[in-house]
Amino acid sequence: MEIVDKLLRGVNDFPTLPTIYSALSDVMANPLSTANDAADVILRDQASAAKVLKTANSSIYGFRGRIDTISQAIFYIGFDEVKNLVLALSIIDLFSKSSLIENLNPVDLWKHSIAVGVATRIIGVNIKAVRIENFFLAGILHDIGKLLFIRNMEEEYNKTINYALEKKISIREAEAELLGMTHTVAGELIAEKWKLPLSIRNAIRHHYIGIVNGVPDKLAASVHIANILCQMLRLGESGHHIVKEPNIEVWETLNLPKNIFSTIIPKILSDYDESLTLFQLKRSR
């Protein structure tokens, strides 16, 4: 099928991860590396270093105004978290430069992604999830497949969104019907290309259902609920005007504390707001 071929070529041509990320991965893979080695890698890229510091000091991590150096950031929020943050920041940069299509402004999609990143992390914290450092990144990346469509078939994707709206079906269904590939599959291909950890790949691939091939998965479940919640709150825009019903099975997986939403919604809103300032996405509509 021609469109699928075009998309697969698009995956090949999709930007690679910034060198700083692979350099960090190398440092991390070496058991003799210290936090200072990692800090050195980050400091080679001053723009990233400044953003990492700002974000580490934001309310997202809760160490407001106490982190002065990259080594401290690594010490306080952890090596994996800093590495994922570097990745998230460079991807945000990549995407804010993406072109505009009629029905879905990439900036709005990106705002939605940031909101879901923030919300996924907050849900993760509240369920005391392990490997919490993956939550923000998985949330940020959950719709990355849509960007492949926007980059490679602007016109067709515009039609696909319209088609979903007209037929009152989900964008995913419209994608499958008109493009032969869904953004969740496209997202997984990009995550594979980027060699992201399996748990993040699974969360991207299965975020619409919140379980991974029938197996409960806290990360996929958190992204699933965060996505729905951010759509309900209208934080950014994902192209879906209709908010999907949650998969009832994920509630058991998450086992959230009682009446948690009235507490986490204000936190999501303020972290979201702070992130937009940090990532300089404010005021564009």
């Binding site: 009446n259 009235s262 809103l269 707001d273």
Partner: protein, 111 residues
């Protein structure tokens, strides 16, 4: 009772009774702040049309009326075509409704 005043009629020295929030949900000016010339300019930049002004000391409490809840519910129901089933869904739905009801109180409707 706090009173809603149109932007053209606000004067320096008036005290805000409800936080003024822009379309991104950011608070521009918090309740309790006495308006000055700069505030008024910011409000115009953000196309805020009305603000709620404090008339006595008890005015800072936000009241959410049944009408606001109903309006918020209606807005959400337009986009969520499902009914909350579990305790979590009811909590999530209710919290989102409250958030919208509050925003309706705080800001002018844009649409």
């Amino acid at each position: 009772m706090p009173s809603v005043v149109q932007i053209d009629h606000i004067k320096e020295g008036m005290v805000i009774a409800k936080p003024i929030v822009n379309s991104f949900g950011q608070t521009l000016i918090n309740s309790g702040i006495e308006l000055n010339e700069n505030h008024i300019r910011v409000l115009k930049t953000w196309s805020i049309h009305t603000v709620t002004i404090k008339e006595n000391d008890n005015d800072e409490e936000v009241e959410i009326t049944k009408e606001m809840i109903a309006l918020a519910q209606k807005k959400i129901a337009e986009r969520c075509l499902w009914q909350p089933r579990t305790e979590e869904e009811k909590d999530m739905y209710k919290s989102v409704v409250l958030y919208f009801a509050k925003s309706i109180t705080y800001m002018n409707e844009e649409e």
